[in-house]
């Protein structure tokens, strides 16, 4: 594990490039040291001792045009040094001279007078005086001592050997690679003294540069990397030049689209690239939340029901929703997945699940692609935006080991809950007359029951029900990564164990993830393989839903005197309760105390292989193949004692206890062939052409079986069941589809100033009828680098000013398969005598087209004041045309509806990002502020009559302010009846009817759009402070200008039943006496509360997303002494607080949480 850190003190034979690499790569501060080139001094010292003569020759170099030697030279010099004479000759002839300084230095008193003499002749005259001879080498003249013979002739062919005797030229040969050991192609190697003399590296990073004197300093530059100056090395070993990525420039340098790598300077799309380092600095929950903290256009739709349930997939959107659910989906969960962006792992489609479970240590960067120029590459899949994950390539070198560990402490955030205590609750019940009865025979037991409860309160019963199912959870995540190898063969292996323990007792999600990356370079072939095995074990809390607990009355005892769980709550031991409760409520703890479980285990295996062939300079062919196999089994069991079976009597007693077993299987494969060509013509014209053909297959099945009758809760294996579920049958579904796609992309860049980009894609899918199987998608983009213009270059403040715009289409395929065809299904639970029957599933529409989104985007990227300020702005319009929706048909057609392209939806908005460095001292303090402002306006332009009809039930829904898709309104509008408030004289609510009259009657026809859950603006505000090894990052999110339907007010404050615990505002906010101006209806008003605008509140919220501290021990000497390369410790606080203008209970089924993470990372 030990290696040399100061290689330059060693002899050159020990000089090994990897030593150099290791040191360089580990030094992240390198960029601040560019003023004093790293290699300059020590390298030159070591190079001095290198035998000078290393002569290599190319073929065909002997052909020299004799005419050029006929050039006329005039010279008049007295006692000059040879060097100055040669310099003069150089000027006149245009030839370069190559010589060894120490051979020429001594000659200082040369005189020459030449008039109009041919060049060759002049040379003869001058050099003979100095006892030197020369050779021509293209446009170079090599000057040498007469007696000198070439020594080292390694690595030359026999053909070359012949020539060597007469011609000798010195070369620097080497490779340019990046931090990760990846070759950098197209890097420029120039002489510092004469920038005209330079070469560009090959695709494998190699270069061959003729040099003219050993003291030449080479300047190596490549876009996105830091400029490096290095003294020429003539070592036989190839010279390895390792370029460091420009830290801030990375995202601008190359845009990884997952299909083609695009240079940012000529990229017309809107995108954002995020590095692992950033991901780690902005949150520790998971990749998805970190991404959101960095770029809020990656929007996680907060789920008030499921909070921070570790087993719940988040709903994600980029730039609003581009799809709306169809008639049969508006109330189902699948609707939320409609707008999930496409997720691509190293060029292959993967799932949101995979993004959450991936080993963060394997990730090199994540790119968000937003507009048409970027997403049209994905055609039918790109409508919702694309997230491209690029995994790390192994770094060459000796075996390197990185280790990371995180301890996560999580605690429920119950700050949104404000409930009554036991005494107040009981008092509320009393004053609302729960225990009053006009009939003495019932009044008596009621009062007795009240007194029983009062006794309980007086004896100190004050149960904190919310605390019972919750816990402070501790979980550990650890990962280990090994990597190494040489330039030919490299490997890395990573393993991660990520335990997530939710704040509900017993809920957990444990991921074990292993991956191996191999990379092998053979000549101009690069072979790469990535294998990932992921195992997930998840468990739901046996305590059930959090909502079962928070409304339980605090005067109830969860346990009896002996500490056993009470089966029912509030049991007085008599039947006094019988007028209040027909049956006493069951204690949810009782079911939790049984051997109930609900768990699952999943294993996914993904293998990705890519072979890259550099056919010639700029021309590359890549073949890729990937498969993913996943298996999941879920098991849920409720023992016979479970309260679900309380009503089973008679013969049904044996049916108590149930088991559900679910099996999911999936097999996906994807293959692609990718050909790209890039060429620079005459320095000014850069062209890129790329094509890819890909095939994709997805075959997934899901099957659930249920069994019942478990006599003993210990015998909880499905085969111990009495029978299958009564009247049950296997349920599940299966889908199987294939797609093919052909994509072409061309890019032309003129002098880095103007660029134009075009993409065309043809997608075919088995989901579509034979006549509409293929659909075209396209995009076109234009850009202008203003900062490259002459008139702009004088400007000192602006380092970069790029304008870009794009237009194009992409599609969405996340809808029901087979809508274009008339399909039949088979009756599985019905038959006709002994015949099986088939039935029509749906009337096909052969004219059905793919749903397309037409996207417009204009944007700019600006860097100012030596990159102290960077700005990005985008404005976009995204129209979803041909929205797939159902069309109602008269019943005589025989089907209720068919599917057609008749909807339209529009998203319009802008995104502004800014980063400002207040201080940027390489060794001292760095302080940056960054922030973003986003705005999106969504509008439903057209929907089908069928969808309108289907939504009538939603409109008529008395209690839930459902999402509706109504023409002219946002799909996130809140639909309720406008309210005039609570009538102070009656305590009843007064509504505003559609005709403008006040009314006490709630009518579904009066429902209108009141407010919008989309905020007017949202974004984030981050700051980063760095001093030496210490980094502090804070990330805040905000949303302003939106509204929310506050369900807490509707359901928990305006409740008409006081049997369960309520929000404290029942006490403080409800109307009690005539004349009260109260926000909430009369406390004795038992009429149900319907959805009204009273509960629509402005929501302005600031979220503290994460506070992150990191300390890097890189500069501590002891780190190196004990053999480590780097040690880093960190502390992250996720979601510490929320400041909001509304008070609403959050996380009702599963609470939200705060998380503190301690982390330790080490590399050695």
């Amino acid at each position: 594990m030990k290696f040399t850190l100061t290689p330059f003190t060693k002899k050159e034979k020990d000089f090994h490039s990897t030593n150099l690499d290791a040191n360089l790569a580990s030094n992240i501060w390198r960029k601040y040291e560019k003023q004093k080139p790293l290699f300059a001094r020590p390298l030159s010292r070591s190079l001095m001792r290198i035998n000078l003569i290393t002569l290599l020759l190319g073929l065909g170099l002997s052909q020299v045009d004799a005419n050029t030697y006929a050039q006329q030279i005039s010279l008049k010099k007295q006692k000059s040094s040879l060097e100055s004479i040669l310099r003069n000759l150089e000027k006149q002839s245009g030839y370069s001279f190559f010589y060894k300084k120490n051979e020429i230095n001594q000659i200082i008193d040369l005189s020459a007078e030449i008039k109009e003499m041919p060049f060759k002749q002049a040379l003869n005259v001058i050099l003979s005086k100095a006892n030197l001879s020369y050779d021509f080498f293209d446009k170079t003249v090599v000057v040498k001592k007469n007696t000198e013979r070439p020594k080292n002739l390694a690595m030359v062919t026999s053909q070359a050997e012949r020539i060597i005797s007469t011609m000798q030229q010195q070369y620097v040969k080497g490779r340019v690679i990046d931090n990760e050991g990846k070759p950098i192609s197209g890097a420029s190697i120039r002489l510092k003294e004469d920038a005209r003399k330079g070469v560009i590296t090959q695709p494998d990073g190699s270069f061959t540069l003729p040099i003219y004197s050993l003291n030449e300093i080479l300047v190596i530059t490549s876009l996105g990397y830091e400029r490096q100056e290095i003294k020429a090395s003539l070592n036989l070993e190839k010279m390895i030049v390792r370029l460091k990525k420009q830290e801030n420039a990375l995202e601008e340098a190359v845009v990884s689209t997952g299909i083609f790598k695009k240079e940012d300077k000529s990229f017309t799309g809107a995108s954002r690239t995020i590095t692992t380092k950033e991901l780690r600095q902005y949150g520790a929950r998971n990749l998805v939340t970190s991404l959101r903290n960095i770029d809020p256009s990656f929007n996680i739709i907060e789920n008030n029901l499921f909070g921070n349930d570790p087993n719940r997939l988040p709903e994600i959107q980029m730039r609003g929703n581009s799809s709306i659910p169809n008639v049969n989906e508006i109330q189902s969960e699948s609707a939320s997945q409609l707008n999930t962006p496409l997720i691509v792992l190293d060029g292959f489609q993967t799932s949101l699940q995979a993004l959450i479970d991936i080993n963060e240590n394997d990730v090199a960067s994540i790119t968000l692609l937003k507009d048409a120029a970027a997403t049209a590459l994905y055609g039918s899949r790109g409508a919702n935006g694309v997230i491209v994950i690029t995994t790390k390539l192994p770094r060459p070198g000796k075996l390197r080991l990185s280790f990371g560990s995180e301890l996560k402490v999580e605690n429920a955030d119950l700050s949104a809950y404000h409930l009554l205590n036991a005494r107040d609750k009981l008092e509320l019940e009393r004053i609302t007359g729960l225990y009053d009865s006009p009939n003495a025979s019932t009044d008596m037991p009621n009062k007795r029951y009240y007194n029983f409860l009062l006794d309980e309160v007086n004896s100190g019963v004050e149960t904190d029900w919310m605390a019972i199912p919750l816990r402070t959870s501790y979980a550990l995540r650890s990962n280990l990564r090994l990597e190494g190898g040489d330039n030919q063969f490299r490997y890395s292996a990573g393993i991660q164990n990520n335990n997530t323990a939710g704040v509900m007792k017993g809920s957990s999600r444990n991921t074990l993830n292993g991956s191996i990356t191999l990379s092998y370079t053979y000549k101009n072939l690069i072979f790469r393989n990535y294998l990932n095995i992921n195992n997930i074990k998840n468990q739901q809390s046996p305590y059930g839903s959090f909502s079962d607990y928070f409304d339980l009355n605090p005067y109830w005892r969860p346990y009896d005197k002996d500490g056993n769980v009470n089966k029912v709550l509030g049991d007085p031991g008599t039947t006094d309760y019988s007028n209040i409760w027909t049956t006493l409520p069951t204690n949810p703890l009782y079911n939790a105390s049984l051997k109930t479980f609900d768990k699952g285990e999943q294993t996914d295996i993904t293998n990705q292989t890519a072979v890259e062939w550099s056919i010639q300079e700029g021309l590359r062919l890549i073949g890729k193949f990937s498969f993913t196999k996943s298996d999941k089994q879920s098991d849920a069991f409720k023992p016979a004692e479970h309260t679900d079976f309380a009503n089973y009597t008679g013969v049904d007693v044996f049916r108590k206890g149930a088991y559900w077993i679910g099996l999911n299987r999936g097999m996906k494969y994807e293959g692609a062939l990718n050909l790209s060509y890039s060429k620079k013509i005459k320095e000014k014209h850069q062209i890129f052409v790329g094509t890819e053909a890909n095939i994709f297959q997805d075959n997934t099945s899901q099957l659930t079986n249920a069994a019942e009758g478990f006599p003993n809760s210990d015998l909880d294996f499905p085969s111990m069941a009495l029978q299958y579920m009564k009247d049950g049958k296997p349920s599940g579904n299966e889908y199987y589809y294939r797609t093919v796609g052909f994509v072409g992309n061309a890019n032309y860049n003129y002098n880095n100033r103007y660029f134009i980009d075009g993409t065309f894609r043809m997608d075919g899918s088995s989901q579509f009828g034979a006549n509409k199987r293929f659909a075209p998608f396209w995009s076109a983009g234009l850009g202008w680098n203003l900062h490259e213009e002459k008139f702009f270059k004088k400007n000192e403040f602006v380092n970069r000013l790029k304008l870009r715009g794009s237009v194009g289409t992409s599609g969405s395929t996340k809808f029901n398969t087979y809508q274009a065809l008339t399909t039949y299904g088979y009756y599985t639970s019905d038959r006709y005598y002994n015949w099986l029957g088939a039935y029509i599933l749906g009337l096909g529409n052969p004219d059905l087209k793919w749903q397309q989104v037409l996207k417009y985007n204009i944007g700019t990227d600006i860097d100012l004041f030596d990159r102290y300020v960077t700005l990005q702005a985008n404005y976009y319009i995204e129209n979803t045309n041909d929205l797939v929706s159902s069309v109602n048909t008269p019943a005589s057609t025989g089907v209720n509806y068919y599917t057609a392209n008749i909807g339209k939806l529009r998203n319009k908005g802008f995104e502004l990002y800014a980063t400002v460095y207040l201080m940027k001292k390489p060794t001292g303090l760095t302080w940056s502020l960054s922030g973003s402002v986003l705005h999106n306006k969504n509008k439903v332009l057209e929907t089908s009559q069928a969808l309108k009809d289907a939504q009538k039930t939603l409109q008529g829904d008395l209690y839930n302010a459902n999402k509706m898709y109504i023409e002219g309104y946002s799909s996130n509008a809140i639909w309720v009846v406008p309210s005039l408030g609570i009538d102070p004289s009656t305590g009843k609510e007064l509504y505003l009817a559609a005709d403008g009259t006040p009314t006490y009657t709630w009518g579904s026809k009066d429902v209108t759009a009141v407010g919008n859950t989309d905020p007017k603006v949202w974004g984030n505000f981050n700051t980063m402070l760095r001093y030496k090894g210490f980094t502090f990052t804070a990330s805040l999110g905000y949303r302003f200008g939106g509204q929310t339907y506050n369900r807490t007010l509707a359901e928990r404050v305006e409740t008409s039943s006081y049997k369960y615990n309520v929000d404290e505002r029942v006490y403080t906010g409800r109307w009690q006496n005539p004349g009260d101006y109260a926000p909430f209806k009369g406390i004795l008003n038992t009429n149900p509360t319907y959805k009204t605008s009273r509960f629509v509140q402005d929501e302005n919220t600031i979220y503290a997303r994460s506070f992150n501290f990191q300390y890097d021990f890189r500069y501590m000497n002891w780190v190196k002494k004990i053999g480590f390369e780097n040690v880093n410790i960190g502390l992250d606080v996720s979601d510490p607080f929320i400041i909001s203008s509304i008070r609403q209970e959050r996380g009702t089924n599963y609470p939200f949480s705060r998380q503190v993470t301690f982390s330790l990372n080490a590399t050695f």
């Binding site: 095939i695 297959q697 099945s701 579904n733 299966e734 889908y735 199987y736 589809y737 294939r738 797609t739 093919v740 075919g764 899918s765 088995s766 034979a770 199987r773 398969t817 087979y818 065809l821 008339t822 399909t823 039949y824 299904g825 088979y826 009756y827 019905d830 038959r831 006709y832 005598y833 002994n834 015949w835 099986l836 029957g837 088939a838 039935y839 029509i840 599933l841 009337l843 096909g844 529409n845 109602n888 048909t889 008269p890 019943a891 005589s892 057609t893 025989g894 089907v895 209720n896 068919y898 009559q945 009809d949």
Partner: protein, 484 residues
Amino acid sequence: MKKHIILASLVSSLFLGSCNKFLDVLPRTQIPADKLFDSEQGFKDALAGVYISAKSSASYGKALTFGTLESLVSSWDVTTNTVEQQLGLFNYSDNRVIDQFNAIFAKQYATIASINSILQNLEANKSVFKTEGVYQVIKAECLGLRAYIHFDLMRLYGPIPSDPSTGNQLAYVTEFNREIHQHISYEEFKSKIFTDLKQAEELIKEFDPMLTYSMNDVRNPNGFGSNYKPLDDFLSYRNMRMNYYAMKALEARASLWYGDKDNAYKAAKEVIDAKDSDREAKFKLATGKEFTATNYILTSEQIFGLYAFDLAKTYTDNFGNATYRKGTSATTITNQLYGNTGTDFRESSLWNIVTLTSGSKYNVIRKFWVTADNVTVLTDYKQLPMIRTSELYLILAETAPFNEGVEYLKTFRTNRNISSLTIPGDVPTLLNEIIKEYRKEFYGEGQAFYAYKRLNIPKPQIVFAPSNAVVNYLLPMPTVESIN
């Protein structure tokens, strides 16, 4: 150059061709129509699907037999403010009533759609039929059923035959596509029914084993004692399929509705006079023997019945639990429906008292009572009656010359063991007696409402009609049809 272009286009067309092939994958839970209909079996499955659709509860499985239609004529006890009560009051504006008639309407047209889907593919894929007669039988059954269901739609939602100008016009759908089907006139609708029927009869005549073999033979193909030895089972069990005689019987029923008594008589007579090879009548009226054998549903009388494998469950869920009941004792039924004859098999055998777990006792019809298991072909009574021999006797009684008609009524009565009743002396009395028999005979089968509607019977003659009911035989157009 030209060569290259040709080669390139050849390669690319091959490539695209193989792409299309690559994209031809099918899900395992559904099957595209053209794939289903590329084999004989596919057609058979689709046809079985049609019958399953017809036996569903929104159709003949409940709504059009003992459900909605019997509630309309108040065959069952009701509680206040239930949909059943509103039906009995002919309150067509009640939301729940609208829903029920919407459901029936939609289901009936859905069944028609699945028939039309078969018929459309039948012509296109004629070549897939290898077994002789299968093509003709499937086509004829489809046409016959299409007529049957359309006729029932017209009887239910259309005008009263005596005044065809008032009431809904309906669509006679013969195509399965996205077009909106025109609502056509009463007369046009009628002619389409008979066109379909005639075509069906012509097609099936040659191939229906029902014409050659007895009902018991076709119910027991290749069985012991059966003369019918078909190669393909699919052509058997004619009594539970739209057979030739079912078409004839439907012709009689429809002709009577449309007032064509001659044709009704002719068609009914052809069925009643049909003889097996042993010179026995093919369709005999049931006697006490059937009732004794608990064949309450009288499968021997069913010229066409829908097989319902789950009939035992249907009985338990609707009658066994006394959801559908009439009185707490037999008195009401005995007195008001059967006239307390004391002999009528239906009076003595069809009803019984069930005792619920709560101890309540109700008088419940056991017409649909069947044993679920352990049945032989001959004791398998799980059939919903679609058209019965007894109805043909009543049709003959109504359409034949008076004296002959009286004879048919007498035969009918004899078989029901009520020959002691007075013989009608004139046409109105005869008609009156026939209507009474429709009510008694088809209790729970949905035919009484049609009989009342056909003759526009006033409320006093409707047995059990509640006093506050306003009889209205004209249903509004279902809202599911008016939606654009």
